[in-house]
Symmetry: C2
Subunit: 137 residues, 2 copies
């Protein structure tokens, strides 16, 4: 029975790779895994990789020694949620305030988790969510 262990990579498409890189590294504190002029990859916890692609730069098939990666791209303000521990949420509010990033929305979920919402420099809607949102979290 074929099964899936989890989402490994989530991709966002950005206008300015260096600007986005600074945001995800410096404000969100993600560890850089890979960097070139076309893309960046960040570790966002165990087995969670956030990919940033320069918009338009992933529209051609990538041909490497090991094979090919087909084209993809995106526009619009996409959405990604990150898992954070409940006791981390006050620290995140403080960090976002220090970075002058506005909290655009917040939610207390029926199951008990809490979320805060804000934007990255490209307008993507980011969420920090504490456990108790989904049955699997």
């Amino acid at each position: 029975m074929a099964s899936i262990d989890g989402v490994l990579e989530t991709a966002l498409y950005v206008d300015d790779l260096d600007r986005a890189d600074r945001f995800y590294a410096d404000v969100l504190g993600l560890a850089r895994l890979y960097s070139d002029t076309r893309m960046r990859a960040f570790a966002a916890g165990a087995r969670s990789v956030l990919l940033l692609f320069r918009r338009g730069a992933s529209l051609e098939t990538v041909r490497m020694a090991g094979g090919t990666i087909p084209p993809h791209d995106g526009s619009g303000p996409l959405h990604v949620a990150f898992a954070v521990a409940a006791e981390q949420l006050p620290l995140w509010r403080e960090r976002l305030r220090a970075a002058n990033i506005a909290i655009e929305g917040q939610t207390t979920w029926p199951r008990g988790g809490q979320s805060i919402y804000f934007r990255d420099p490209d307008g993507h809607l980011l969420e920090l969510a504490t456990p108790g949102l989904w049955a699997v979290y």
Copy 2:
């Protein structure tokens, strides 16, 4: 020190919610967590939730008893990679063949992992990747 535990939610935007739902439930075998006329949520392993939004349906702020969810949306063939165990890859090739889904690309990574690439009904580029792709996987 504020920290992130992982990517919790990855969102795709689709033209036909029922068609996409059938693909993710029946072909990829993901378990449905939530369903309405605006969106679907699927469990893709522990603490990994895949969200499908009807394109345009998430462009208005959602106001609920617990708070608000700001707008987001997307277009273009986005990219999501799922983690699968190495011994699962042959089973996935067989399942995709049985569902008449073409493998559009494949890669053997320098660190030893393998990936196969195919499309969902909306043209999003999906990847199944075995361990040995990233330093964190």
